[in-house]
Symmetry: C2
Subunit: 429 residues, 2 copies
């Protein structure tokens, strides 16, 4: 009897999620037909509504924060969960910025008049229904919704339970704002109330979800990749390397390492392993500067042997080569040659970003050619692997996969293409 009830309720839940996806599909068709001016009006309306309703948002956020504290949530997690007036202003500003960007929809990828007179063009069109599964960062709710709407899609969200009150408040505000400008409220929906099971239905809804974007830690992303049967774009895992060649000038090495490691250690484009050529004389100065900046150094035996006075090195193991610390920690290893550095990177890299610091042209070219990562950098900070820094305007995430999108993803990566062929009776010979 009990089992039967559970089964019925699982069926009901699945039906409910599929009904949400059907509404998203219908809304996606209206969004696809909305021109840029209309979509930008929607984005600006949401920005205004966020500011006008910030008391309500912050009150909901306080509920989530209180629950989080009661559950013993870590300080770092609580910080990610927290919204403030300043952070709400930041979300509104980001939407205003999105409204200033060109529309990726309608862009002509290629076009030609064929020998038989047919006019062919391949045009960017919205993907349709974008789903996102993310952890307790309520800013992602607004962020992903804005990007999806600007690119003419509908979005179905699954935020974490920890941010449930905040996300619910945000969702209501977003939907009301869309409705007020004549855009479909169902272009932004959530499956949050169906919990983990709702997320599972979302991951398996082939043909109903056009792309699923997981946002969060490694564990969340890997769970989604393993369980999803809908198309997924993996983002953000960055075990980033810098190789200092023997010819690299000291000042540049010190500045780039400090910037790549300490400017914002918790993000995916921060450096995690430093490889140093055995003949590089700059190593002691670099290690001293990093140590002075509070970086904990995890070093192999050869580096241990040349540590400058007053600098501590913790013995590195294979686990260090594999770890994305996302903190003020850096693994350091000495190598005999560029090929040895490339071999180490091939073994341990997640394919996000790798950099070489060198004054040797042939080595720079070889590094660019042989390193198979989304971004390869010569003589600059690894922190430049970023959509805004590289001129994409807005960033959906940084893809570490090879299909569809690789590296920083802009609005264009939330579109697909349609081939349009026009004639006056042409047939194939």
């Amino acid at each position: 009897m009990t089992e039967q009830i559970v089964e019925q309720s699982a069926t009901q839940l699945s039906d409910d999620v599929h009904a949400i996806l059907a509404r998203a599909r219908r809304a996606s068709r209206r969004m696809a037909g909305a021109n840029r001016a209309w979509k930008d009006k929607g984005l600006r309306a949401i920005a205004e509504a966020l500011l006008a309703n910030q008391d309500r948002i912050l009150a909901a956020n306080l509920q989530d924060l209180a629950a989080g504290k009661a559950n013993g949530t870590s300080a770092a997690m609580l910080d990610r969960l927290t919204l403030t007036k300043q952070r709400v202003q930041g979300l509104a500003d980001a939407l205003e910025n999105l409204a200033t960007l060109p529309d990726p929809v309608g862009n002509v990828v290629r076009g030609a008049t064929l020998p038989n007179g047919l006019r062919m063009r391949q045009v960017n069109v919205p993907l349709g229904v974008v789903a996102a599964i993310y952890e307790a960062r309520p800013n992602v709710t607004v962020d992903i919704a804005g990007l999806a709407l600007k690119s003419g899609n509908a979005v179905v969200l699954r935020g974490g339970t920890a941010a449930a009150h905040t996300n619910e408040a945000l969702l209501t505000i977003l939907r009301d704002a869309l409705d007020a400008v004549g855009l479909p409220a169902d272009a932004v929906q959530s499956v949050d109330k169906y919990g983990r099971e709702g997320a599972n239905v979302l991951m398996r809804a082939r043909g109903e979800v056009d792309v699923l974007i997981p946002r969060g830690g490694r564990e969340l992303i890997q769970t989604v990749v393993r369980n999803a049967s809908v198309p997924v774009i993996e983002t953000g895992e960055g075990n980033v390397h810098i190789f200092i060649d023997s010819s690299a000038p000291e000042d540049m090495c010190v500045e780039i390492l400090l910037n790549s490691k300490t400017q914002r250690p918790s993000v995916c484009n921060t450096v995690e392993t430093l490889l140093v050529h055995k003949d590089a004389t700059v190593l002691p100065a670099v290690l001293k500067a990093l140590s002075d900046a509070g970086v904990r150094l995890h070093v192999d035996e050869r580096v241990q042997a040349v540590l400058p006075a007053g600098v501590t090195g913790f013995p590195a193991t294979d686990e260090d080569w594999a770890t994305e610390y996302m903190d003020l920690d850096l693994a350091v290893k000495m190598v005999d040659s560029l090929p040895d550095a490339i071999k180490h990177i091939r073994t341990w890299s997640t394919g996000h970003t790798e950099a070489i610091l060198t004054n040797d042209l042939a080595n720079a070219e070889r590094f660019i050619a042989e390193i198979d990562s989304a971004a390869v950098i010569v003589n600059a900070s690894t922190r430049f692997t970023d959509g805004s820094e590289l001129g994409l305007g807005a960033e959906v995430g940084i893809s570490t996969q090879k299909l569809h999108a690789r590296g920083p993803m802009g609005l264009g990566e939330l579109t697909t293409t349609k081939w349009i062929v026009q004639g006056e009776g042409q047939i194939r010979a």
Copy 2:
């Protein structure tokens, strides 16, 4: 005891397939570093070797054909399995053609000098290891290998058991030809001898296979999509529609329907359902012409009522709207309006190709905007959804998915991109 042996052998098989993939990865790095001239030399060497060894190929093919006949294989399947001197010449010609095409590798997608002086460019690079699972069509062995090599990849093949002898002969010839010009023989490998289990290991080798392309019937493709955890590109399922609007001229309708249905009924861009506006006076002439050409018409009641004399109509059911006949069969349905036609297409289409025949500009524009398929055609045959016809030079397949590639896929779709950033010490502020 027996179980233990089986388990050891399964482990051994898995180890063997992973070893093949490791060799493919190493070969892919050498292929990625080969310039166009070298790769084209390899393609031409393969073409020559195929012609020089055609007796050996045809002898192996006869073995497969004899086994097929003994197993009671259908005539259509035997035809696909058959190689002749002419077909081998066709394979060699296709490779010679590939050698004349531009190299997709190294193409600069975008580039800029950023305000801080960084030079950024996003460049096409090979995907790496391409896998293909296909049915007993030995031509695919050469076809996919050629496309993968031209785009700088290594390929791991799994052909059907029915073509085992032919594929083995082809593989040896391909590998020897690569070796003779100094390209890695391991750029073309097969897991055929590991049977179905080998295919399963291939489908689950995340991180070792960069893209898996299934080629064959619906069942093969769906099996791969359901079971693969590596990235897959779905190709070729085409439940293609043509809508005849009330304003479409008769001559054009007759010619386009005949061409779309009868020119090559067994391929994915042939029309499968005809939707006709209730006021289209051209319907009888179109049906008469199709019937005279030997097309079996599966019609709804309204079409049944207006069939011209001497034309037979079989009653259509929902199954007809869903079916990709790939034969001289056509489902025909009368609709009240363009929106009704769009609704029918949204319900039954596989998103491959849909066409409208009309002289009404607003209806043409609405059809283009609202039909969400890889190709949308106005006043031309559906047979034009084809890489060669649309000027791509060579065709990997026709993707019916939205991520990475949609519609005809050329060599470019066998590449990904790499972001290359070059500076002289820039750090992020």
